[in-house]
Symmetry: C2
């Protein structure tokens, strides 16, 4: 061991963050620990419904990862590939479009899971989700917007749609979201003089025959009664069929007119986890009891994305670690120990844990809880819930901020400020000075460029025997090739004079150029006419042939 060891942790949810924390505590100082994550903060997910309800500020519900992990290197970025063979990650970020290769000696996969609503037509395109901080923030702004619109709506049908809220899925997340959003509505109504409380409708839709499967049945029944008291309708044994701009349809034929659908259902492995080529089951990466990925001595998986067998495992889903925060925190501790043991040549330990508590806040200062076998419900449970959650929040600053938010919420009216932050337009103008490098081989393909004024030089295959050169002027375009195929630039573009272009972002351009026949036809023809066969992206040729097959 002449070189410094590097442990790279991919993801900074409960599993990744606590693994890094314990690793820093347990590993020798000369072991470098790096965390890579797509946002620079740690989010305590159980607080998301409260962010959506506006009693906690979005910025106060989270803690900067750098603050939580002193001594750990942090990299804000997106991991696009893992090269197990040479122990390297490929990382990109959105601003500088560069690809970085990050080496590791041990790799911890903790990417979590993503929401997958694709089973229901329209749901993905019209539902709010509750997975990230941005989701919660967006839902809050939307709910306030509905109140604003309903308050001045002249058409009763339109007003009804704005005041009808549908939450799909009655697990913890669904029940808490319904309860908290109902709180927000209740507390805000006094500012909306043209809305009556009776006009608001909140529906909780659940496929199973009961709510809160995570809790004992009596507590779930208690919760159901409380929700009913508050005017929240619970539709059990109800299967969702589809969603549109202004409706949700059930399999039984019921249709609800609404502008707000919140989906708390449907998890799936993230794109990266799926692309790794590792053995998976139920959408999770298979590992052994040490959390090691079979066949890879130095690759480990932890948290929701990992399928971790518990002692006495019989192959049924119940005998694996549950995808919850409580499990993740314990897994992290064992995993950190195992990795340090592997570095030192010591014996690893098998993961073992039996969760002791379950809590759900149900709005209106009430909660339900199971703690060490004891059951609580009502306001006492809610106070317990707050104390326990405050304890679990990492970082003193965040604890104090959340506590102050809670206190202020008791003394002041709910903040109904709607702060939408319009992001940059997808189609926008960019200026380049003479000599500026616009695209570079190996960069991430960020979008499509049309020249409005000025001049550019494009080079493909610089340094090869047959490079392709072209000067581009007004009306010409570049960047289209990579958008149909891979995602890395394969050429260079430099501004030959001060120039202005119209830029369209990759995702929007791709959807538009493939969905709108005029553009699809144009680009297929353009590419075939302007580039030699071998320079065309594989995927493009593939897609083209599939098209021929269909014709």
């Amino acid at each position: 061991m002449t070189q410094k060891k590097r442990i790279v942790v991919l993801g900074a949810g409960f599993a990744g963050m606590f693994t890094a924390k314990h690793l820093r505590r347990l590993a020798p100082r000369d072991v470098e620990i790096e965390v890579i994550n797509e946002v620079n903060y740690f989010i305590f997910q159980p607080l998301l419904p409260e962010v959506a309800a506006g009693n906690i500020n979005a910025a106060d519900a989270v803690s900067p990862i750098r603050l939580l992990l002193p001594g750990v290197k942090f990299r804000l970025g997106h991991v696009r590939a893992v090269h197990f063979r040479n122990n390297q990650l490929e990382v990109t970020d959105d601003t500088n479009r560069n690809l970085t290769h990050v080496p590791y000696d041990h790799l911890v996969l903790a990417p979590g899971q993503r929401v997958d609503l694709s089973r229901f037509p329209g749901l993905e395109d019209h539902a709010f989700t509750m997975k990230t901080l941005a989701d919660a923030y967006r839902l809050r702004n939307h709910v306030i917007n509905c109140l604003e619109k309903a308050d001045v709506a002249e058409d009763p049908a339109m007003k009804r749609r704005f005041l009808t809220f549908v939450v799909v899925g009655a697990g913890f997340s669904g029940v808490e979201t319904a309860g908290e959003v109902a709180d927000l509505l209740d507390q805000s109504l006094k500012f909306y003089p043209h809305i009556e409380a009776a006009e608001i409708r909140m529906i909780l839709v659940e496929y199973a025959d009961r709510i809160l499967p995570e809790l004992p049945e009596d507590l779930a029944r208690y919760t159901a009664r409380e929700l009913t008291k508050r005017g929240i309708e619970t539709w059990l044994k109800t299967a969702l069929k589809s969603a549109s701009e202004s409706t949700v349809e059930m399999v039984d034929g019921r249709v609800v007119e609404t502008r707000t659908i919140v989906a708390t259902i449907g998890t799936a492995p993230g794109a990266l986890a799926e692309s790794l080529g590792l053995d998976m089951q139920w959408g999770r990466i298979k590992v052994d009891g040490y959390m090691r990925v079979p066949g890879h001595d130095n690759v480990w998986a932890v948290g929701d994305a990992a399928l971790i067998p518990l002692p006495g495992n019989t192959g049924t889903e119940e005998r694996f670690a549950a995808p919850t925060a409580q499990f993740a925190v314990r897994e992290a501790k064992t995993l950190a120990r195992n990795i340090v043991a592997a570095i030192k040549g010591a014996e690893p330990g098998v993961f073992e844990f039996k969760p002791m508590s379950s809590l759900a806040s149900i709005g209106c200062h009430k909660a339900v809880a199971v703690l060490f076998g004891m059951r609580f419900s009502g306001t006492l449970a809610w106070l317990l819930w707050r104390v326990l959650y405050l304890g679990m929040l990492p970082g003193l600053a965040t604890k104090v901020r959340v506590l102050l938010n809670w206190i202020l919420d008791h003394f002041f009216p709910r903040n109904t400020v709607q702060i939408d932050v319009p992001t940059r337009s997808s189609a926008r103008y960019l200026w380049f000075r003479k000599g500026d490098e616009v695209l570079k081989t190996g960069n991430l393909g960020d979008g499509f460029y049309t020249v409005l004024s000025g001049k550019f030089e494009a080079t493909i295959g610089a340094g090869t025997p047959h490079p392709y050169h072209r000067v581009l002027g007004p009306g010409d375009h570049f960047g289209e090739r990579v958008l149909f195929g891979g995602d890395l630039r394969t050429g260079d573009v430099v501004a030959l004079e001060d120039s202005k272009v119209l830029f369209v972002e990759r995702g929007d351009f791709r959807r538009f150029a493939t969905g709108f026949k005029v553009l699809d036809d144009y680009f297929r023809n353009y590419l075939r006419t302007n580039f030699p066969e071998h320079m065309l992206p594989d995927e493009f040729r593939g897609a083209d042939e599939r098209k021929k097959d269909r014709a």
Copy 2:
């Protein structure tokens, strides 16, 4: 007076908000007062630099208008036209795309001004502005992003660009922004182990030969010295030439490589104010000393958008009310009195005011101030600044929240959480159920639709002798016509079966379809071939003829 009088206030900045407040206090109870604004909160603009620096949460810096104005009707919307002839406003909102007609007996124009950077090539497309809460929030996220990127950057030139910050304009807003952002950088550096303080460069660019023209020269000199001490470079007598993706160029030839340009210069009348056909000077609406718009007995203008002569006015710019918050608050009081006098048939009063104080916070717990002729600078001035600003903040809840933010900032590290809220994609999929109304005559044209599956019926001129009917299936599109011309729908589209479309938002579609020749040609041809001449939008035909002229 048989009918209830209605006073409508357009805009809820200092001028509009306080006019409504005083009106509610002074006007008889049966006078209805309505405020129309594009956001549902009041923003205390002097706090924007602190929001950008992250010591005040965005949501805490603002107050909901409904909370501040009890007894006043509030409408969240965008005023697109004023019909002076029949005393009506045309109001739209983004969600339901409906046009509402709002009648008034008295109209108060308080739309403020907008930022206009169009004089400098590239500046509009690449600079951050500091006018709205979203601007401040965006700048804060961007600055943190620069730190994240610089901390892991391998290319020294790239790192330098991320750590160079240029603020254009050295008035209050520019100086405070430079000072506060420098504070954010200083306090955050400890979390970015690979960035040295010496690597950060902050440049304040000013066209005039001094900073802070609003303050006496000795205080400005003091401030300049303080900025220099803190390592902020001040480039006086420096004219900006242009900006690009990664550079700012000065007229004297100096070029700065940077990813961050903040422009605090360039005000212009808003689009609405310009479209009203009222007499304007220096970009402001001319009014008499009573703030009445000449030729309109029941139309008044106030705040930054109004050019209000002061007693002893000689026609020079100095003898008009200054476009500042202090003036706006006083104007509001006089205007409310005048409108109530007009309703009651009493005598109005002329506006008169001499500002007593000027304050600027310059970062690092220092400020400069003139109060009743006395000068203050340093930490004492900064404390004064905080006390006075706290006093000016409307609403107790906001005062307490801002105060708590300030206190927390002293005890805890600056919150370097970067909360980017990705908004909906511009090109996205929408689902419609059979019978859903997709577009309706008179709606605001929100974008372009391509049918991916299903079937729609389009009708133009329903109820006229020669309506135009068409059934649209996969590959067909609609919504393109209005995007080249006016902005209201002139036809109806209904889903004939469950359908899926690809939707592209209006602004992005318009830029793409006009900037990209392929689309421009296609749509011109498509419109001409598919619609009778009289159904084509005027603007489209105009643009087309201009094109012919050029050819």
